[in-house]
Amino acid sequence: MARVALVSGGTRGIGGAIAKSLHDAGYKVAAVYANNDEAAERFHQETGIAVYKWDVGDFEQCQDGIAQVTRDLGPIEILVNNAGITRDATLQRMAQEQWQAVLDTNLGSCFNMCRCVIEAMRAGGFGRIVNVGSINGQAGQYGQVNYAAAKSGIHGFTKALAQEGAKKGITVNAVAPGYVDTDMVRAVPENVLEKIIASIPVGRLGRADDIARTVKFLVADDADFITGSTISVNGGHHMY
């Protein structure tokens, strides 16, 4: 039977492309979203992918939500932690709420979601966890102390959990996208965006599908020797 995959932030942008790509590859997919009912409904209509609404920054909502998905589709064997937000400000203007919201949604969510699926993965002797990091977590970014800390925290989270999951057939990897043509990036002022594109060796923004195909590669059954790894998908924008 097809494996069950859960994608957070999965109805739009990079997450939407990941959910679709896994769906097309034959997985049973559930997509979680937080706010935009209209986009979620449209996504569900277009793709037939089941959508669920909860806040991944909230531990109890994750417990309830994952219990519901498990009842509907079966135990989750593939988890893609993609949900993320930005609340940009330079440090001296950043409110504590901006720090906390980004840390909770982008990093706390990895704990919440993984914690709620890990027991079933261990019991099943199989699991694939892919955490979506960011080029800005690797390279840092002006006005994003909160976002860079959270995303780079994801990379640490990945490496620690990879060590623990290894002998239970659970792989944990990170994908670190560069600038991808999504709503989040389209919100960047045009003159800034032009500068960004000029500094990408491949000469274009990423496409959501560039990320999705990488996730699909990592969650496959035969990717079982890849764990604790980060795959950067950024058009050569930052290499290290």
């Binding site: 704990f111 914690r115 890990i118 840092g140 800390a149 995303k151 640490g156 989270f157 490496k159 060590q163």
Partner: protein, 240 residues
């Protein structure tokens, strides 16, 4: 007048090594601590370094604490975010409280403390911030998903704030120690300690003073072109 350095978690272990190294290098030094009054009392008697008590995981306590430091000694020119804690557990046994405690003390504290001192550094067009990361934040570690995520997050924080601080003469760097011979290590069973030492090509634990030496190097006037960087000191245990 020599520059003023503030070291969090500075009355014992690596923090004390840093405080002493800075004092020996001619800086004015104050240290923060949270819980062990007897240790702090002995430290200040032995070293003549003033100690201040507050909880760096509490934003308001940081504001109050830094104000007290500044009222007594002037603006903080050099901030060493060293305070940290562990609460180890296998991921499937890790409680939400363990996750939050470690994230608050190790990562949120960096935000809290930097926010107090950064505006003053911008104003005077000079500042040095050193965040004490960890080899485990780079390499991952069993039973430390919380600690590794927090320490890795610190590396992202460093790189983002380094970008912001650059034009104000503020450098932000990370020092990532491996296993250092502190009071914490002395509590470890000998057989585990032997294993840890066996993994280092140099075949010994690090010394507190060696971490202090690296910090002194980075806060120097002449280190102005080193920013967003990580100095790793782990006896060659993990290289990348």
């Amino acid at each position: 007048m020599p520059r003023l350095a503030l070291v969090t978690g500075g009355t014992r272990g690596i923090g004390a090594g840093i405080a002493l190294a800075l004092k020996d290098a001619g800086y004015r030094v104050v240290v923060n601590y949270h819980s062990a009054d007897d240790v702090a009392e002995k430290f200040t008697v032995d070293t003549n370094i003033p100690v201040f008590k507050w909880d760096v995981s509490d934003f308001d306590a940081c504001r109050e604490g830094v104000k007290q430091v500044s009222d007594a000694h002037g603006p903080v020119d050099i901030l060493i975010n060293n305070a940290g804690t562990v609460s180890d557990a296998k991921f499937e046994n890790m409680s939400e409280a363990q996750w939050h405690r470690v994230l608050r003390v190790n990562l949120d504290s960096v935000f809290h403390m930097c926010q107090q001192v950064y505006p003053g550094m911008v104003e005077q067009k000079w500042g040095r911030i050193i965040n004490i990361g960890s080899m485990n934040g780079q390499a991952g570690q069993l039973n430390q998903v919380n600690y590794v995520a927090a320490k890795a997050g610190m590396h992202g924080f460093t790189k983002a704030l380094a970008q912001e601080g650059a034009k104000h003469g503020i450098t932000v760097n990370t020092v990532a120690p491996g296993y250092v011979d502190t009071y914490l290590m002395r509590e470890m069973p000998e057989r585990i300690l032997d294993k840890i030492i066996g993994k280092s090509p140099i075949h010994r634990l690090g010394a507190e003073a060696e971490i202090g030496h690296a910090v002194v190097f980075l806060v120097d006037e002449k280190a102005a072109w080193t920013t967003g960087s990580t100095v790793t000191l782990n006896g060659g245990t993990h290289m990348y």
